[in-house]
Amino acid sequence: MIVNENLDILVVEDNEGDALLIQEYIKDELPLTKLTHAWNIAETERLLKEHKFNLIFLDVSLPDSSGKDSIIKVVELAQKTPIIILTGYSDLSFAVESMQLGVQDYLNKENITGSSLHKSITYSIERNRIRLQLIDSDNRFRSIIENSIDGFALISAEGQIQELSPYGNSIIGFDPLENAGLFQIDFLHPEDRKKVLAVFFEVLSKPGSIKLLEFRYKRPDGGYRWMESTFYNLLENTAVNAIVLNYRDVSIRKKEEDDRKYLIDELTKTNDYLKQFGFIISHNLRSPLTNLLAISDLINPELIPDAQTAELFKAVQISTNQLNDTLNDIIKVLIIREQQGRDLQKISLVDAWGSFYNQHKLQGTLPVCDIQTNFENPSHIYFDKAYLDSIFSSLFSNAIKFASPDRPLCIKIKSFMEGTETGIEFSDNGKGFNYQMVKERIFGLHQRFHDNVGGKGFGLYLIHSLVTSLGGSIKCKSEVGKGTSFFIFFKQSNHD
């Protein structure tokens, strides 16, 4: 940069001849310059307090101060203003030394030329500006580090640690102002020491590498705190030349994590226990129940001579069958809850219906009724065959349970496509119910909507569990006296 502005220069010189000479030179080279002259340090001090100059020429031997003292004093007073020292041959070596005290340049009074003066002024002002920028940027960087809520430390390749951030001190339990704290390996929890050192050496071996690590650190009060840290190898970065350790206190988060883990463990245990309990109970109930079923099947009530006993025995039969139905549904629900993540298969509806129909026809478990099916579009769904079987069975037993006494039962089953969804509609002409009153609650546990039939609500809960466990959904429509329709939606394919 060329200095072309109106400079404001102070010349501090006790020798009148030298002072005139310098000022002449400056006027020749930079005619627009405003010049001020001071005879001694006292006058300089007064001027500097009143006015800000662009540059100071300072003679190092003044009546009231000389040499190093003059320089130190003026550098301090000048603050950010660049200084050029004026010397003679006798103290040239001192002038060179003085560069370290913060002056920008020196000129030999006995050897000044117009061009050397011009050059020195230009360089000094420019160099000073760059120096100030560097100081500024360093200050900004320091301020960021010092005000960071993270702890920062630099670790040399030999393991020497230098703390950078005052806040880091308070993280590890020391007064930030005293700077007494220093991150130390000795304060690591004995169980974590090996791990931390392993990570440190791993990072040390790879320039540029970063590793995350959590460890416990002992505070002066003896308590341990959890630290989350990064080790960053910046040894090859000449400006840093260290491994940068960055840490923060995560004890609260750690405690929350531990609490959550404990809670999950407890819940898992309780849940497993309940599941097991459910299975044991239902199995242990089933054994005697099947015996009861066999017994009530073997006894012929017509052979019982006493009318009341025969009547009571029929009640035993009915109760046994109800108990059986409910228990079966409970067990099925338990099995589905246990069976997570069954794979979806491509199922031909015609085949699946056919095998269901034949099996139940054979066992005599299908009602005598009109059944109409239409599985043309779509002909396939993605589901589980055994689950679909179970759904058919539950829908049938539901339809039988709520058949209307006024008309023969008629069931329609058809597949459908609605937008991108595929589904099956299962409709009956039974009693129906007021759907507006119950809505989706019909698929919950222990819902009963009919006063006159022993509905247990498990059948629909079972269907709902089966469908949703494989990503599907179910809806219902019903009207009192007309019938009920169920719409079961399936996942599109096994690829999503």
Binding site: H283, T290, N291, L293, A294, L298, Q363, G364, A386, S390
Partner: protein
């Protein structure tokens, strides 16, 4: 009619009821009750030890799944490895109170298992079995 049938079942009341139902359905001449898998293997061991006795082989085994000491699945495995070569015509039907369809699927992996019946055993179920491909030849007289 089936001449000899094994009933592997731990519950004494169930045993009693099944014997009545088998008899009512005229399904077999003799039913031998064994309390669990261990008792069943011990009984079958006589065929290994005294082959010359030419004891009457059981044609069919009704096998419960949930039993103490040795359950039905364990018995099935042992039977396949140890006894099936000596008893080539013996078939197995699982008779269980389970309604877990996964047990049903699992039983299909065993070729000797020709059926899976839910408890309680009924005369209807036995009549159906009499007509099945695997067993109908034992009931030619009665089926006609």
């Amino acid at each position: 009619m089936i001449k000899k049938l094994l009933l592997v079942e731990d519950d004494p009341i169930t045993q009693m009821l099944e014997r009545i139902i088998l008899s009512n359905a005229k399904f077999c001449q003799e039913a031998i009750s064994l309390d669990n898998g261990v008792a069943a293997t011990e009984w079958l061991d006589q065929f290994l030890e005294k082959k010359e006795l030419q004891l009457l082989f059981p044609e069919l085994i009704f096998l419960d799944l949930n039993m103490p000491l040795m359950d039905g699945w364990e018995f099935l495995k042992i039977f396949e490895v140890k006894y099936s070569s000596f008893l080539p015509s013996t078939k197995i039907i699982i008779l269980s109170s389970t309604i877990n369809f996964l047990d049903w699927e699992k039983s299909k992996e065993h070729s000797l298992v020709i059926g899976f019946e839910k408890k309680p055993l009924s005369i209807d179920a036995l009549e159906r079995l009499k007509k099945s491909i695997e067993l109908s030849h034992y009931f030619i007289d009665t089926n006609q």
